[in-house]
Amino acid sequence: MADDLLILISSPPNNPKALSALRLTQALRGEGRSISLCLLQDGVLLALARQATERILALTSEIKVYALGEDLKMRGFGRQEALPRVHLIEYDRLVDLMVDHRVMGAF
């Protein structure tokens, strides 16, 4: 459990916090750490294919990236607009992830 890391991103794509979180995730991945990313609140906008950055595209091919489906729907988007490799999850699954991983922080 303790070796599996989870980073939560709740800030929107252009926010420096989100960008820092993505850089941190890439750096930890580069160090060979087992890490997952979960997008929630405004952070789910990072999962949209229409505005996906190279960084998030790279991460979705290297690690598990989750997004809260409920928060995506609240913002008027659905599965078809999200990156195919992003796993849409419900709150119960988020709780499980937080229990099973060491949460590095919420950005």
């Binding site: 709740s10 929107p12 252009n14 609140q41 405004d42 229409r50 729907k73 609240m74 913002r75 008027g76």
Partner: protein, 118 residues
């Protein structure tokens, strides 16, 4: 300078209370007979996104609230460059929202006596 209010929304809905407060003040202005123009800019563009499903969350759908408010006649604009940056087209927004460019936005801001930024 006129006697109008401009509400500039730069934050997206639900992440913070800002966008909901913008709608609340827009409703208040319309109800009070104040001439009001609202501009959605930056992440505020998402406030106008059609199809926000909030049923299971306990939140009020802000796009539905905006749609209702538009019946009262206020002008609501979406900043075109912000739409383009986010890959969102006008037909994805609540009907009645129109687009403006930087110059038109500057003109509206210049004409408004009061400005509220959310």
């Amino acid at each position: 300078m006129g006697d109008s209010l401009c509400i500039l929304v730069r934050t997206g809905p639900y992440g913070t209370i800002q966008a909901a407060e913008a709608i609340r003040h827009l409703n208040g202005a319309v109800a009070s007979g104040v001439k009001v123009t609202t501009i959605l800019m930056g992440d505020g563009i998402h406030l106008g996104k059609e199809g926000q499903e909030t049923e299971t969350t306990g939140w009020t759908s802000l796009s539905a609230a905006l749609k209702q408010t538009l019946k009262g006649g206020p002008q609501v604009y979406a900043h075109e460059p912000s739409l383009q940056e986010r890959g969102i087209s006008l037909d994805e927004l609540v009907p009645g929202v129109q687009t403006i460019d930087d110059v038109e936005m500057a003109n509206i801001l210049g004409r408004s006596q009061w400005l509220m930024i959310f």
